[in-house]
């Protein structure tokens, strides 16, 4: 009968753990996108000549929001802060030199573009290399077109220096409004056309 008695109970180690389990794993690739965003934001903050605390605070709040939650309104706030800083930085009617305009334009573009990418890439996602390559290629193309247009703007500026009249300024304002209106019409038309008109099928493929 002695064989049938139970074995002595083993010493059991018990670990009491706090009741939190959800841990987010940030991916390095997503963090790289956020770093580019932050670096561009800091450049936008530092490049204007004069520093105005109110705009800098707006920019910083917007930048932090844009880095943490890029799909919300933070990017807009960062752009407002950065652009306002730039407009009043050198004095409202002062013309800053090209060596400062171009880096600022580039930093602003990188901030906007990186924020658009960050909105598609949450911190816990894997950013595939082909996406980064595609984004860089498209951005380079945009910058190339912008470089041509910037050259044009400075060429026109050189020709019209000292010849500005109220009529010319009014025409310019109308031109800007026209460009914005055309852009709005294009966007509105483009949004009316849905992505997929085909009905869903059982296996998830479109017919």
């Amino acid at each position: 009968m002695s064989r049938l008695t139970s074995r002595p109970s083993r010493a059991r180690s018990v670990a009491f753990v706090p009741d939190w389990r959800e841990r987010r794993h940030w991916q390095p690739s997503a963090l790289v996108v956020r770093s580019v965003q932050a670096a561009a934001g800091i450049a936008v903050l530092l490049l204007p000549a004069g520093h105005h605390l109110i705009f800098e605070v707006i920019l910083l709040i917007g930048l932090v929001t844009a880095v943490v939650s890029p799909a919300r309104n933070g990017p807009g706030l960062a752009m407002i802060g950065g652009l306002a800083s730039w407009v009043v930085g050198d004095g409202t009617y002062h013309h800053p030199p090209v060596e400062r305009v171009l880096p600022f334009a580039f930093a602003l573009f990188v901030l906007w573009s990186a924020t658009a990418l960050a909105a598609a890439a949450p911190l816990d996602c894997i950013v595939r290399p082909e996406l980064v390559r595609h984004w860089l290629r498209q951005s380079a193309l945009g910058l190339l077109v912008a470089a041509v247009l910037i050259g044009l703007v400075y060429a026109i500026g050189a020709v019209t220096t000292g010849r500005s009249t109220p009529v010319l300024e009014f025409a310019g304002a109308l031109g800007v409004l026209l460009v914005v209106a055309v852009a709005a019409v294009i966007v509105a038309r483009t949004l009316r056309e849905g992505p997929d008109a085909d009905p869903p099928s059982s296996n998830g493929r479109r017919s």
Binding site: V17, A116, G172
Partner: protein, 429 residues
């Protein structure tokens, strides 16, 4: 695929706002630099909108294997094709069950060019026995360099069976009561077999090839070799699922009492079924649905399927007693329990009093992680362990051995003891 239409993303309103404001300010303040600073954004937006996509890409996702063992891994294969360029495609895989992607891959962002296909895979690891499901993919597509966005859902794509890890269990071939006609276990009766029971004088009906010639020559009378007959055994596994203690091992390989019980049940069932015995299963949280004892490979598959569906659930003592009373009299009952339930303990004591051969396999893990819910958690656990010790002592007093689950050879000593006890002469009252 079900999806929404393209919607403007925050980047679009930011770009339009910046372009309009700076354009107007540039004219009003006579500052061309204000146009220049937003020109890259304007140029990029215009180009992107002109080259935007109208249709969503096709996405399929599937697992590389339909059945895995605990801890085994396979790959989740993605296949994406698009008729138009989608600048960013966020793919969120909806996984359910004990499946994990340790190297990431549950949330991936990629891009697809027009007319191309993209294939990639990420490792998928099973962390616990049971069933895992790929419930579908939530797809978020961005076109026009993130200016427009659309969301769609790719429906469910499949399930994965995760079999409990069987720890190579083996046991001596002694069973207290061997039943049936043929099998591998030595029975208490003499007959056709291999194990020597003794030498006895020849009686009419004995087979000639059983005659032991050396003894017959020496004694001058015919003697035959007597052997024990080989029979198979009827084993019923009783799974105590009334309580589950400990954290189930997602990642760190720790296990709960239910994990131990299911793994042990799988290993024991496989061992006895491979030896030609009949094995049945009774899950105490589903006492009305016992699995009848059968032999063969099909029974192993059936038992594994049932084990995969095992869940902890409370059950009353009367239901347990009713279910236990239906177990065949000659069966070897192996109870897999953490011994933390009084109802189960009392039901087992009743079964022993009825003269059944029974072993309790203690499935309380060595290392337990308990969620600390308040200041009384530690004290409550100590009280629970004291009650458990009392239960183990009470079962031992009734002649029910409780052995911890240690894998191979766990039950050998107890099986031998039970066999000897069953072979001993009994006092008939």
């Amino acid at each position: 695929m079900t999806g929404s239409t393209w919607q403007p993303a925050p980047a679009l309103s930011t770009a339009l706002g910046a372009i309009a404001t700076m354009g107007l300010l540039a004219v009003a303040l006579n500052r061309p630099d204000l146009v220049v600073v937003v020109l890259p954004i304007a140029a990029m937006s215009l180009l992107a909108l002109l080259r935007r996509a109208y249709r969503l890409p096709e996405v399929t996702v599937q697992a590389g294997a339909a059945t895995l063992l605990e801890g085994e891994s396979t790959f989740v294969h993605w296949h994406i094709s698009a008729e138009e360029t989608v600048d960013a495609l966020q793919l969120r895989l909806q996984l359910r069950g004990h499946l994990d992607q340790p190297e990431g891959g549950r949330l991936v962002v990629t891009s697809v060019l027009a007319g191309t296909q993209r294939r990639f895979g990420y490792r998928l690891v099973s962390t616990r026995w049971g069933r895992g499901y790929l419930d579908g993919v939530l797809l978020e597509a961005y076109t026009a360099m993130g200016l427009l966005r659309a969301v769609a859902l790719v429906p469910a794509t499949g399930s994965i069976r995760v079999l409990p890890l069987r720890e190579g269990f083996t046991a001596v071939d002694a069973v207290p009561v061997a039943a049936g006609v043929v099998g591998l276990h030595r029975s208490r009766r003499t007959g056709e077999g291999i194990d020597l029971a003794g030498v006895r004088p020849f009686t009419p009906g004995d087979r000639l090839h059983r005659i032991n010639w050396p003894v017959s020559t020496r004694t001058g009378a015919l003697h035959v070799t007597n052997t024990y007959s080989d029979r198979d055994a009827d084993v019923v596994l009783v799974l105590d699922t009334s309580v589950e203690v400990g954290e189930s091992g997602d990642g760190d390989r720790s296990s709960s009492s239910l994990d131990q019980a299911v793994r042990a049940a799988g290993a024991i069932a496989e061992h006895y079924l491979r030896n030609g015995d009949r094995v049945g299963l009774l899950d105490l949280s589903r006492p009305g649905r016992p699995i009848r004892s059968r032999a063969g490979r099909g029974q192993l598959d059936r038992l594994v399927e049932i084990l995969l569906e095992t869940r902890a659930g409370a059950v009353g003592q009367p239901a347990i007693e009713r279910a236990l009373s239906r177990i065949p009299v000659n069966a070897l009952v192996i109870v897999l329990s953490p011994l933390l339930s009084d109802e189960v303990g009392q039901a087992l004591a009743g079964l022993t009093r009825a003269g059944r051969s029974m072993i309790v396999v203690d499935t309380l893990p060595d290392r337990i992680e308990l969620t600390e819910l308040g200041q009384w958690t530690k004290l409550a656990w100590r009280v629970q362990l004291l009650r458990r010790d009392n239960l183990v002592a009470a079962l031992a007093a009734h002649g029910v051995p409780a052995v911890p689950w240690l894998g191979a050879g766990s039950l050998d000593a107890v099986l031998l003891g039970l066999s000897r006890l069953a072979a001993a002469p009994r006092l008939r009252r």
